[in-house]
């Protein structure tokens, strides 16, 4: 038992965090809002050069062959700077889904391997139009889309679909509805295999959102502390008042207790698939509560300033509000936990917090919650 990240994981996080904090500022995010595509092409290439798009891609396809546990700290950093580029969503859901097909015995494995090699070099990108989400973010900047038709998985060229742009309350998000026609040529998986692909993509997508929410919320909390330390009323910083301190302390508590839940979920997705549904849903719910509380209190302590367009806080707040509802909202995930808890075979109690061994075969699927 060792519940700590490795030195390598922490060092890699620090490297990525340093790049992001230099390259992604509130001003540069606002500049994206008025640009045609809404992304920074140079930064996108830099991130690709670091291997981030293909972090979860097997080394045989040119990726880094790392796991969700390695990615989760990076996803938090992407949230911290409110990165508009869809790195986390694409890498965690779409690209990882292609990797699963590439490593399978499906006929489309070769095609997916080729596509992954393109992604690893930064020459292609893929987004995921999961059935749980009504819209795809940044679909127009992706070369490929993974789209559902029942349980089937289709890999579709973006040029062959109609993207109907919608306007998000978060100006950093470029969401669209996708109108398309499935064909035999675009199908890469179906039946039980297709359903499993969608299910694991949902878990990874939700995990990515949970991690970003933590980063976004920690950034809001930091801004709130700085603001309430600088801003003076009644001759002293407003942050010296207990009423203000306690609002922000509550945010810190809820964030502190969400982070280990997210680490456990990433570990489960990477190492212990029979526990992934439960662990991811817990992570998504915990991150959601912590983030939305921090948005509310963080805005409150900014006073009227927090309610303005000018105040950069909106970049982080609106991202939280928007992505919180994607990849399954709190109701969806809480319901998965509820069903699991009502399962007569549910492994409840402290001795079941963790697996007995690293092998998922130790626990039968009958002990898994409903999907």
């Amino acid at each position: 038992m060792n519940f700590t990240y490795s030195e390598d994981q922490l060092t890699y996080r620090d490297t990525v965090a340093a790049l992001l904090s230099c390259e992604v500022t509130a001003d540069s995010i606002r500049a994206r809002w008025t640009s045609a595509q809404g992304i920074d092409a140079n930064l996108t290439q830099q991130l690709a050069d670091m291997g981030l798009n293909a972090l979860l891609v097997p080394e045989s396809c040119g990726g880094l062959g790392l796991s969700e546990l390695d990615f989760i700290l990076l996803a938090q950093e992407c949230g911290r700077v409110a990165l508009p580029e869809p790195l986390v969503e694409n890498a965690m859901a779409a690209t990882a889904m292609l990797s699963e097909v590439a490593s399978s015995d499906l006929a489309a494995a070769n095609q997916c391997q080729d596509t992954l090699k393109q992604i690893a070099t930064g020459n292609a990108s893929v987004a995921c139009g999961h059935w749980i989400n009504p819209y795809v973010n940044m679909a127009d900047t992706s070369h490929w889309l993974l789209l559902p038709h029942g349980d089937e998985v289709h890999l579709v060229s973006t040029q062959t679909v109609d993207l109907i742009a919608q306007r998000s309350s978060d100006p950093s998000r470029r969401i669209s509805k996708v109108n398309w026609q499935p064909s035999r040529g675009t199908k890469i998986a179906g039946g039980q295999q297709g359903a499993e692909l969608w299910r694991s993509a949902l878990n990874r997508g939700a995990l990515g959102v949970a991690a970003q929410l933590i980063g976004l919320a920690e950034s809001i909390l930091r801004r709130a502390v700085v603001f309430t330390t600088d801003r003076e009323q009644f001759g002293r910083p407003v942050g010296a008042n207990q009423a203000v301190k306690h609002l922000l302390a509550d945010c810190a508590v809820s964030l502190e207790f969400a982070k280990p839940v997210i680490a456990r979920a990433a570990y489960a997705v990477a190492n212990s698939p029979t526990r992934a549904d439960w662990a991811v849903s817990h992570a998504k719910v915990a991150a959601s509560y912590a983030a939305l509380l921090t948005v509310r209190h963080g805005m409150q302590v900014h006073g009227a300033m927090g309610y303005t367009w000018e105040c950069d806080l909106q970049i982080w707040m609106k991202r939280c509000w928007a992505i919180d509802k994607t990849w399954g909202d709190v109701g969806f995930h809480k319901n998965r936990i509820h069903e699991w808890l009502l399962n007569p075979n549910a492994l409840m109690g402290a001795e079941h917090t963790f697996d007995k061994s690293g092998s998922p075969s130790d626990e039968s699927n009958s002990q898994q919650g409903a999907g």
Binding site: N2, F3, T229, E256, P260, V261, A263, E351
Partner: protein
């Protein structure tokens, strides 16, 4: 990161489990806040000590097993799973014991630790005074040096277990010209010493779970001072750190309560019209699990050389509010029968100990530093907000 138990850890769990099948009392004990129950619980401490299970993290020379923190968590999980009795000597073993090991002289360790581990000496805690509650640095009770002795005068209050305990650990003002956290010293006082008067205070459940202690020219040897004169505050803070940090409320207690709550919910959910009860029980289960995950993470960090800091204040807030939520949900599920005391004519097993737990849970956000004080600590020390 490796979130699975090693073969050794699994073996340890089975060893604990077996011992807890064979040894705990078959009938529930009386409350340790009664004379009879106190002695029953003392006897259980002796049984634990006889198997070297009293405090598994302690070194073998003090009756422990030299376990690491992960093994301690496993022990606690099995302990609550078995429904073994509450620990009457928790002030001693969880708080004073580690402090003695850190600050005590060899002679002091020799004198106090074994007797504590064996249950021969049960400890009460004496920090608060009538004028020094949340503001502990305002204490006024004095210990005045007189040759090889200190002469103690003053008053402590809210001392848990003091009514039946044998000893109390306190901080007193040894420098009469000092103020606040300066000039304080940490003392160990036998409660049967001449000049000590213990006045029981009944808690919300009507039992004398804590007491006022009056000191009237009480003489103790200088030997009973832990650390140097004037170091009392920092030693007490390290004890408070243990208390809020890891040891006082291990997650297994709440995971077991959350599991019991789920069982109650499964039995009663179709009788309950309150739509929000589903949300409440799911959140309780999740939060109990989150507390466990967080504790494992902290334990791993400490084992890798890390330190526990202001996050112990986060812990204190989280478990005390979780305990309230769990018992609130249980009382909602029990409905109008929830008010029944266990000896009522119509009481039944279904009521479990929920009412007792519900009343006790009300004290969680108050003792060991109120949650408001903890929020101040988090804001100032963890977040860096201005003190003034």
């Amino acid at each position: 990161m490796k979130l699975t138990y090693t073969v050794e850890e699994q073996g340890f769990r089975l060893q604990v489990r077996q011992w807890l099948v064979d040894n705990p009392p078959k009938q529930p004990l009386n409350s340790f806040d009664t004379q009879k129950g106190f002695e029953q619980h003392r006897q259980w401490e002796k049984t634990l000590a006889s198997g070297n299970w009293g405090m598994v993290t302690w070194p073998k020379e003090y009756g422990g097993r030299g376990c690491n923190l992960i093994e301690w968590l496993i022990f606690e999980e099995e302990y609550y799973r078995a429904g073994a009795p509450l620990r009457v000597n928790q002030n001693g073993i969880f708080l004073l014991g580690p402090t003695l090991m850190e600050y005590g002289t060899d002679e002091q360790k020799e004198r106090f630790i074994s007797a504590m581990a064996s249950g021969d000496e049960i400890w009460a805690q004496g920090w608060s005074e009538p004028g020094a509650g949340s503001d502990m640095a305002a204490i006024r009770s004095k210990a005045t040096r007189d040759g090889d002795e200190y002469v103690i005068n003053g008053q402590k209050i809210w001392s848990s277990r003091a009514v039946f305990a044998d000893w109390v650990f306190c901080i007193f003002r040894t420098d009469p010209d000092s103020s606040r956290h300066h000039g304080l010293s940490f003392m160990l006082v036998p409660l049967d010493a001449e000049g000590v008067t213990v006045r029981p205070i009944e808690q919300l459940n009507g039992l004398p779970g804590f007491a006022e202690i009056f000191f009237d020219n009480v003489r103790i040897p200088v030997f009973n001072r832990l650390g140097e004169e004037g170091e009392g505050w920092s030693i007490a803070m390290s004890t408070a750190g243990f208390e809020r940090g890891l040891m006082l409320r291990s997650p297994a207690r709440f995971q077991q309560a959350a599991k019991n709550l789920m069982e109650l919910y499964r039995a009663k959910r179709n009788d309950i019209l309150d739509l929000s009860i589903e949300d409440a029980v799911v959140r309780c289960y999740m939060d109990a699990e989150a507390y466990a995950l967080s504790t494992y993470q902290t334990a791993s960090r400490l084992m890798n050389g890390g330190q526990i800091g202001a996050e112990s204040s986060c812990n204190k807030i989280f478990w005390s509010e979780l305990d309230l939520k769990i018992h609130d949900a249980a009382m909602r599920l029990l409905g109008a029968r929830g008010e029944l005391e266990a000896d009522s004519e119509d009481a039944s097993a279904e009521l479990g100990g929920w009412l007792d737990g519900f009343l006790f849970a009300q004290s969680g956000p108050i003792y060991a530093g109120t949650n408001e004080v903890q929020r101040n600590i988090i804001a100032e020390r963890m977040l860096g907000m201005p003190r003034k």
